[in-house]
Amino acid sequence: MKSIQIFLLIIFLSLCQIGLMSNFAIFGNWPNLILIMSLVLIFCDREAEAFLAATFGGLLLDLASPMFFGFYFISLSAITLIVKYIFSKFLTEINPIIVAAVTGVTMIVYDLTMALINHQFSLIGLVSNAIYAIVLAFVFYYFFNLRSSHSSNISFSSRLK
C-alpha cells in the first residue's frame, strides 16, 4: 500500500473515530480504530506503516481531543512499540488466536489507562470493548491481507496458518 493511501486511511479512520463511532457505542464505549489499525499492521509484518498509523493517527486524535496534547500520540506509539517488541521476541507465527489475544489484551490495558485517567470504570464496558476490538481487528486483518494479496499475490490463507 502506498504511503498516500495509508495517510488517507488514517485520516478516514480518525474522522470515523471522532465523528461516527459514538453512534456505534456498546455500553457507552467504542474501541480506538487507530490502535486497532496499528496492531493489525504489526500482525501483517508492516512495522513502519504501523508506527506511522500510531504517530499520525495519535496526532490527529490529539488535535480532536480535549485531553492534554500528546496523550494519544504517546500512548499509541508506546503500545505499538511494545507490541512490536513482543512480536519480534516471543511470537513467530500469526494465527487467529494470537490476533484475538493480543488485540483483546492491548485494548483492556489501553481502556484501563483511560478509565484510571477519567475515573470511569465499568467491567462490562471493558470486556465488551475488548470483544468489539477483536471483531474489528479481524475485519481490518482481512482488509489489509486482501490489499497485500492484490499487490504481492500473498493470500490471506497462507499467512493465517
Partner: protein, 261 residues
C-alpha cells in the same frame, strides 16, 4: 531509517505542537482541524450514524410505544399546569405594575444552538460543538439539552468549543435542591451524577428537583439538572451525598444549547 521517514516527520510536528501547547497556540491548530473535520463529521453522523438508531428503534418498538403513551399524558398534564402558571404570571405582572416594582435587570438568557461534531472516546465525558468565540461563547457557560443542564463550556476556540459533560468526574457545578433548599456540589463519576456537601440539617426527599444554584456567577440559577434518586452518604459523615437521575441520555446527545447570560 528511510522506512520510518514519514513517522519521524510526524514526530517533529508533534514535538513543535507539544511545545506550542504550553503557550496556548495549540488552539489555532485545533480550531483549524475541527473546521476541516466539521462537515465530514456532520455528514457521517447524519447518514451512517443514523443506522444503529433505526435498528434500535425497531428492537425497542414496544418500549417506545409505551413511552409515547406516557409522554402524551404527561404533556396534557403539563399543558394544564402551564395554563395555570400563565395565569399566575399574568397576575404577577399586574401586581408588579400596581406596586410600581422596578424591573431592574433583564433575566432572560440567550440560547445558542450548537451541533455536536465530535467525541474521541467513551471514557472522555466531553464533546466538541460547532460554535465558538465567534458566536459569543466563553469558558464556564452552561450547556443544556431538552431543558436540562448537560455540561459546561470548557475550552473555546474561534469556531468551535469543547464541552465537559456533568457526568465527568472533574466537572463541578453548584446545585440546589428545590424543595428542601439544600445546596451542594454536583459532579459525575463512578456512582453517576452525585451532589456532595449538602448540610446535615437538610431534609431531602426522593424525586425532589435538583437545579443549578447560580453560585459562582457563570451558570444561571434555576437550570434543571434532574431528580433526587437516593441518599448515599453514611451515618457518620458530616455532609450528605445524594445521587441524581437526569432524564437526558448522555450517549445520545445531538443538538445542544449554550446559555449566554
Amino acid at each position: 531509517m528511510k522506512k520510518y521517514r514519514a513517522s519521524l516527520i510526524v514526530l517533529a510536528i508533534v514535538a513543535i505542537l507539544f511545545v506550542s501547547s504550553f503557550f496556548g497556540s495549540i488552539n489555532f491548530a485545533k480550531n483549524l482541524f475541527w473546521k476541516m473535520a466539521r462537515p465530514v463529521s456532520l455528514v457521517l453522523n447524519g447518514s451512517i450514524g443514523r443506522v444503529p438508531t433505526f435498528f434500535k428503534n425497531i428492537f425497542y418498538i414496544n418500549q417506545i410505544l409505551k413511552q409515547n403513551h406516557d409522554l402524551v399524558s404527561e404533556n396534557l398534564n403539563l399543558q394544564s399546569q402551564l395554563a395555570k402558571t400563565n395565569e399566575v404570571s399574568y397576575e404577577n405582572e399586574i401586581l408588579k405594575k400596581e406596586l410600581q416594582f422596578a424591573n431592574s435587570q433583564d433575566k432572560t438568557n440567550v440560547l445558542v444552538p450548537a451541533a455536536i461534531i465530535g467525541r474521541t472516546s467513551g471514557y472522555l465525558k466531553a464533546v466538541t460543538i460547532d460554535k465558538g468565540e465567534k458566536d459569543g461563547l466563553s469558558k464556564g457557560q452552561a450547556v443544556i439539552s431538552q431543558g436540562f443542564l448537560v455540561g459546561l463550556v470548557n475550552s473555546v476556540r474561534v469556531d468551535n468549543a469543547d464541552v465537559t459533560l456533568i457526568t465527568d468526574y472533574n466537572s463541578l457545578v453548584p446545585a440546589i435542591l428545590q424543595d428542601s433548599r439544600g445546596t451542594g456540589l454536583l459532579r459525575g463519576g463512578l456512582e453517576g451524577l452525585v451532589v456532595e456537601d449538602i448540610p446535615l440539617n437538610t431534609t431531602i426527599s426522593k424525586n425532589e428537583i435538583v437545579a443549578t444554584s447560580g453560585l459562582g456567577g457563570q451558570v444561571p440559577p434555576g437550570l434543571a439538572i434532574g431528580k433526587v434518586d437516593q441518599t448515599i452518604s453514611k451515618p457518620g459523615e458530616i455532609f450528605q451525598k445524594i445521587t441524581v437521575l437526569s432524564p437526558v441520555d448522555f450517549s445520545k446527545l445531538e443538538v445542544l444549547f449554550v446559555v449566554k447570560k
